[in-house]
Symmetry: C3
Subunit: 327 residues, 3 copies
C-alpha cells in the first residue's frame, strides 16, 4: 500500500524487524511533455515530487508518511499529505494499517508510483479507481515474495483530505495468486457509497501477469457500475470524465528487457465511459516507449501516446519524457 509496494519499513528486509528506526526518503520526476494538439503545447513540469519518512516503532508497529509537493497533481496545485499510515505487522497474514493509503484495487493502481512501466497509468485505472487514495483501515497479508497476497479495506470513499460524506463505509479488496512460476492471477472488488447512503457503486477487476525470461505481459480489466462522485479527482491529476451508469476499460502491456538497463514497452488500452452508448465516449490508446535505468535510483522514461479515435481522426498524440531520481 502507499507509494511503496511492500518497501521494507527498514529492517524488515532481513526477516527480523529491527526495534526502532526512521528513514527519510523520496523521489521526484521532472518531465517534458509535448502534446501534438492544434494548437500544440509543450512544457517542462513535474509529474511527482514526493518526500517522506518511514520506520519502525517497535517489533509490531511500523509507520509511513509522505507528502506530494508537485504543483501539477492536486487540482489546486498545493502540497498535501498523501499516504500516512501506521501498520501493525506482527503477523504476516493479518497485518492492519490505519490512516491514508491507496485503495487496494487493481494491479496498476497498487504498483508503486516510481515503479510504473509507463509514465501514465491506464485511463481505466485513473478514471474508475477514483479516489485512488483514501482514508481508512486495512487488513492485509503476504508480500511480494509470497505466492498469495491479499488486502481488504474499509474506507471513507471520499478521498484524501475529506470527511466521509455519508455514514456508510466503502469496502475494497484485492487478492493475487502465483498459479505458476510464469503466471500470476488477481482479482479486485469495491462496493461503496460515493455520495449518499442510498446509492451504491460496484467495481470489479481482473488481472493477469505472464513472465517468460526477459519478456513480461500484463493485462487488466475493470468494470464499474452505479453512482460516482463527480467532485472526486481522477487518479494522479487526470481530469475526471463524465461516466454513464456502466463503464469499463482494459489494457495489455508488454515489455522486454533487452539488457539490465534498457526496456522497451508497448501498451494498448481502451476505456468506455458509458457502455450503453455506442461510439461516443469510447477511446483507445497505444503507448510505445522505453525505460532506461541509469542505475537503480535514476531512470529515464520516454512514451509516445497515440490516441485512436473511432470517428474522425483528431490531433491529440503526445510525447512524454521523464527523468526520475529516487533516494
Amino acid at each position: 500500500q502507499g507509494c511503496e509496494d511492500d518497501a521494507a519499513p527498514t529492517g524488515a528486509s532481513s526477516g527480523v524487524p529491527s526495534t526502532s528506526s526512521s528513514t527519510f526518503f523520496g523521489y521526484f520526476q521532472p518531465e517534458y511533455d509535448t502534446h501534438f494538439t492544434d494548437p500544440s503545447t509543450n512544457t517542462f513540469k513535474f509529474k511527482r515530487a514526493r518526500f517522506g519518512v518511514r520506520g519502525r516503532v517497535n517489533r509490531s508497529f511500523s509507520y509511513y508518511a509522505m507528502i506530494e509537493t508537485s504543483d501539477f497533481i492536486a487540482s489546486d496545485g498545493n502540497v498535501y499529505l498523501m499516504d500516512a499510515f501506521v501498520t501493525f505487522d506482527k503477523y504476516e497474514w493479518t497485518k492492519f494499517s490505519v490512516g491514508s493509503f491507496k485503495q487496494p484495487f487493481g494491479l496498476e493502481v497498487t504498483t508503486a508510483c516510481h515503479s510504473l512501466t509507463t509514465i501514465d497509468r491506464s485511463i481505466v485505472s485513473d478514471q474508475l479507481v477514483a479516489p485512488q487514495r483514501d482514508l481508512g483501515l486495512m487488513m492485509l497479508g503476504g508480500t511480494s515474495k509470497t505466492k498469495f497476497r491479499y488486502s481488504v479495506a474499509l474506507m471513507n470513499g471520499t478521498g484524501l483530505g475529506l470527511k466521509d460524506n455519508n455514514t456508510k463505509k466503502d469496502i475494497i479488496g484485492r487478492a493475487s495468486y502465483k498459479v505458476f512460476d510464469f503466471m500470476t492471477l488477481g482479482g479486485s472488488f469495491r462496493y461503496g457509497y460515493p455520495n449518499t447512503k442510498d446509492k451504491d457503486r460496484t467495481t470489479l477487476g481482473g488481472e493477469v501477469v505472464l513472465s517468460y525470461n526477459a519478456f513480461k505481459l500484463q493485462g487488466e480489466y475493470i468494470y464499474d457500475e452505479g453512482d460516482y462522485n463527480r467532485a472526486a479527482e481522477g487518479g494522479c491529476g487526470s481530469v475526471p470524465l463524465e461516466l454513464g451508469d456502466k463503464r469499463a476499460g482494459a489494457y495489455v502491456m508488454a515489455t522486454y528487457d533487452l539488457n539490465e538497463k534498457f526496456q522497451p514497452v508497448f501498451k494498448y488500452e481502451y476505456f468506455d465511459q458509458d457502455l450503453d452508448i455506442k461510439k461516443i465516449g469510447y477511446q483507445e490508446m497505444m503507448t510505445i516507449g522505453a525505460n532506461y535505468f541509469i542505475n537503480k535510483n535514476t531512470r529515464i522514461q520516454v512514451n509516445y501516446q497515440n490516441k485512436i479515435e473511432t470517428g474522425l481522426s483528431v490531433d491529440n498524440d503526445a510525447l512524454l519524457m521523464q527523468l526520475q531520481v529516487k533516494f
Copy 2:
C-alpha cells in the same frame, strides 16, 4: 513552547548541550470519529500529522521547525509552517526565542500536542486562547524539572501566517510553581489588541495540578474580556464561537494510572460565551475516556464526549478513537 514541552533540542538532556546537531522528528494521529447527531456522521480522518526538525547550532543557539500536514486542521486544509523558532538558551533563566510558537498561556495550551490526556483540549482553551499559535519574541526560564518556570512573550496577536493588523503588540505570560511535591500552581495573563490599537483585550487564567501516586487531578479557569478577532481560527481546527464582552470557562480532569500502559480519564468542563446572558451560549461537557500506551511512541486514545444542554436535550454526543505514532 512549540509542540514539544521542553523536548531537548538533542544533547541538552545530558546537561551539557552538544555543539551541533539536527534531528528529524514528527508524529501523526489517524482518528475515527462518530458523532451521534441527527443525522449522525462518522469518518476516518487525521487529527494532526506533523513533521519537523530540531537541533543545535552551537552551545548557545538551538532551533526547532515543524509543519502541519493534516488536511483537517487549517480552515483551508493546506499544509502550513507551524512552530519555527530559534532559541538563545545559554542561560537557563533568561532564554529567548524568536519566531512562531504557542502563546504561553494556560497549562493545557502549553502541553505538547502529542501528550494531551484527552483527544480534544477543553472548549475554553480552544476558544479563548485564540490564536493559540502566533509570531513573536519570548523570554523564558526553567524547565519541566525545575520547581519554578515562566514565559513572557511579545507577539503580533494575529496568529500564524499573518502580519500584525495594528502597531501594538500583545503581551502574554505564564508562570507556575511547584508549591508541594503533590501540588503545582500556575497563572497566566494576556493583554493585547486583537484588531485595532484602540480596543484591547484582557485574559486571565489560573491552574492547579495535584498528584498523589497514580492519581492526578488537573484544573484550569480562564476569564477573558474585551475585543476579539472574529477572523482568528479557534485552537486546533475548532470552529470559533461568537463571544460576548465577557466570557469564561473551566475544566477539571482526573486520571488514574491503573498500570504503566492503561490510564482512564474523566473530564468535566463548561464554557460560557457571554457572561452577561443567562442560559444561551452556556455549555457543559463530560469526557470519559482511556489512554492505552502500546509503547512510549504509540498510543491509543478513546474518548466519549457527552455534551450537556441546560435547556432541551440535543443529540450531539461523540465517540473519538485515535491512534498516535511518534518518531
Copy 3:
C-alpha cells in the same frame, strides 16, 4: 543554481564525489519589520523558511529539492516546492540540470538566498528577473573556485507551478570571469516569450565585483524591454510593478569586514519602471545596514531602507531586523 550557490551535494567538496548520500538541510529567517509609513506598521514575520534534501545518486548524478514554508512569500501564503533538480555533473564544464531552479541571470539573483548581503535583493533584481524561479533544462560549467563559470538554460518562462503558456521556450544565460584577483566581471541575457509566441522580451545585465582586503564593492545593471507577464509574481514575494516598454535599474553595494563577525553594508540603487516617461515610476533607495555573524550558521541582519522620492517626500522608510539560522 537553486538556493545554494554551488553547495556541494555532499562529498563533492573532497574533489571526488562519493557514491551515494543524502543530507537534510534548511534555514529559516524570523524577522521584525517596521515601516515608517503613515500610518506606520510593524510586525513579526518570516522572510523565508526552507527545508530540503540534497545528495548524490552515484558519481554522475546528484539531486537537490527544497520547499518554501514561509507564509509571507507566495501570494497565496501556501507551502510550495521551490527548487528541485537532478544534475548530471560528471564533467565539470558540461553539467546538466533538469527540474526547477533559478533563472541564471544576474549576480544578485543567483546568490544563495541565505548569503545575501542585504535583507532584500535590489528592486531591479526582483522586478525584472521575474519569474526568478522557473522550470527547465540548464547546461552549466565551473564553480565558485574556477576563474570562469557559465550557465545557459531553456525554461518555460512562466515560473514555478505553471505549465508554459506558449510553445516557445525562453533562453537565459550568464557568464562571469575573474579578470584580476581583485576584479570579477559578468554578463547575463534572457530572450523569451512571457505570454504568447508572437511577443518577445529581451533582458540584458552586466555586473562587476571588486575586492580589496576587507573591502568589497559590487554593482549590477539590468536593462529589459518588450512584453512581460503581469501575472508573474515579483521575486521573493515583492509586489510586481507596472512596466513600460523599456525599463532598467542598477545598484552598487559596498561592504567592509571590520572583523570576522561584523560587516557594515551600504547600498544605493535605482529602478525605472518606464524609461520613456520622466519622473513617474522612477525610484531610488539607500540601504544602510550591518551583518553580524554569531557563528557560521547564525546571522543577524539589520537594514535601514531610505527611499528617495524625486518629487514630494513621502514617509516610506523601513527598518528590517532578521535572525537567520541554517542547518
